[in-house]
Symmetry: C2
Subunit: 354 residues, 2 copies
């Protein structure tokens, strides 16, 4: 702390990203990245644009990317907003739709960036307790004083809430914006995007970092009523007019176009997840159903922190949260089949040694 | 306006970037881009990194880029912060160092994003009137209630304030942070970076969008005392942990390494600026001395708006500001010699026809 820091800088308790250690090569199952690289067509398009034109500012409206998204979802460009990863979009959305004097609601177990945003923007929030099997009690989100944010499927639990539940939450929040953070939706969940034409209070947030294999390019997008999108643009253009660089705009556009690659790789992740879930159960884990590219697992006898440390020593990173109610579980990203075979073999060893 | 917008979203008056029209090909002298492309080594490095690794998150600390900057300036990594263009860094700095109840100071004629940030973050500000020849009255910035931000050289005037003036402003603001926005410093000004070891209240902000020819990649950096840099990191990690993508980190790093290309291209811009200034004076313009990659010019008989429109119709974009005190001047970015020859010929025609 320092006398030059603003009151805001002093009060913050920043987000801590999953570790990216450089001491050795790890099998990284800790940040929910996709094991398969981006579409070869995306890489080719980036290389084709890597020329003198990088001296010029990117298109601040990201028109090409919005058009590709609009075509993909059968929506209008005015219903779509592009940003530097879904985290940036969430930050803009908290600014655009939530007010300091109106309490917002989100689950007690969810993406740990949400409380960080409330601290940054000085917002009040109330945590809604998820059930013991991590279900989200829908009615608790009705009639929020100031808005709702729900990750669906939820993180780090992988638990999915049906679109009809989302619909009822929207119906019971007609004065508030309900943000549905669908970062992991492409791995088996049903998207709420289909509701945006009907609900002017719905904002759905997606990312290219998971199912589109582009975490390294920082691209996210939001879908909603054009007036909500206008508010996001107002905030963005008061913050930084050009948050996506030229190569990111091209990468996102091409990713939407190569649907074959997208379908193939996400289906591979889904089938690996199902296989690994079965194998881990045989090794003594309890796992609730996940529709994400990770599973949230508790071993019946070995403590999560011990398992986390043992795996790390063996060159495998998973995510451990030192947080009430979930400090005996591990979030395990789904890697390639080869990576998961190594992971399962090491877990098997650890289980036999304990 | 819409009932779902926050009070913040309603009160904003967003920044308007220089136009990027798509109706025809223009000679773009309106957004201060560099006429020369990025270093060929930068382009090669980007292409070399365009592979499967883009599935992985970038390094949130941008360590490679900070190391290159530290080596370039002879500073420690802890004294440097990297961001998504200098606009994002300025936004973070306004959050990290300025408080709503303490008025900040900046010149009445300067980068038009500063008042936009004050609106976004609900800050009070007082404008300090620049002199009729656009000089910044140094003493007016002494003992600011809440901090100072100065663009040096100033935009859109191109006017430079000496480092000894900056030093006296720092000496007379020992309780406040003084941000010196040096976006255009490499085109002839003397940088205040040399003062950062001595002044814990100084933050210097730079960009890769001008002298490094990388506007399309969105890279900026700030230099200051490590405790100021820590505050910027706290804000960033409460907003979006990964604002620079993998290719931007590589591009910035390589740009620092290719110093020969940097020196060559910036010197070309400087000599073109000097030549164009002389020619425009012959055509009836009054131009105050600029040390930036643009000039700020007033014609002795033709109104700025008329000249702007005439040039636009002839395929040349310059920047016109509809703003008191400067609405009879044009900001003209320095293009290549070929572009500026076309520009001078068209201006000559317009002058003869009027």
């Amino acid at each position: 702390m320092n006398k030059y820091w603003s009151e805001l800088a002093k009060r913050l308790d920043p987000y801590v990203p999953g570790e990216q250690p450089k001491d050795r090569k790890y099998i990284k199952l800790n940040t929910n990245e996709n094991p398969y690289g981006p579409s070869p067509k995306v890489l080719e398009a980036i290389r084709d644009c890597t020329d003198e034109r990088l001296k010029l500012y990117p298109d601040p409206t990201c028109d090409m990317l919005l058009s590709a998204a609009a075509e993909y979802y059968g929506l209008k460009k005015e219903q779509i907003f592009a940003g530097n990863g879904s985290d940036e979009i969430l930050a803009f959305a908290f600014m655009a739709f939530f007010d300091p004097d109106r309490t917002i609601l989100f689950p007690d177990i969810t993406y740990t960036f949400y409380p960080v945003y409330t601290s940054l923007f000085n917002l009040d929030y109330k945590l809604v307790k998820v059930t013991d099997d991590f279900g989200i009690p829908e009615e608790e989100f009705y009639n929020s004083p100031g808005g709702v944010i729900i990750a669906n499927p939820n993180a780090p639990t992988g638990k999915f809430m049906s679109v009809s539940s989302i619909k009822r939450i929207l119906d019971n929040n007609l004065s508030n914006v309900v943000i549905v953070d669908e970062a992991y939706i492409d791995f088996g969940g049903e998207s709420a995007v289909k509701l945006v034409d009907k609900y002017p209070n719905l904002l759905v947030v997606h990312t290219f970092s998971k199912s589109r294999s582009l975490a390294g390019m920082r691209i996210g997008f939001a879908i909603g009523n054009s007036e909500l999108i206008e508010a996001l643009n107002r905030v963005k253009n008061s913050f930084n007019s050009y948050t996506l660089d030229r190569l990111a705009i091209v990468a996102g556009t091409e990713a939407f176009k190569d649907n074959g690659y997208f379908e193939e790789t996400r289906n591979k992740v889904i089938s690996t997840r199902e296989r690994v879930t079965v194998e881990l159960c045989k090794l003594g884990f309890s796992i609730s159903e996940s529709v994400a590219n990770f599973i949230f697992a508790r071993h019946n006898t070995i403590k999560a922190l011990d398992m986390f440390r043992e795996l790390r020593a063996r060159g495998i990173l998973v995510r451990y949260f030192k947080k009430q109610r979930i400090d005996n579980l591990l979030r395990i990203s789904i890697g390639s089949d080869e990576e998961m075979d190594v992971f399962l073999a090491e877990v098997g060893d650890i289980v036999r040694e304990n």
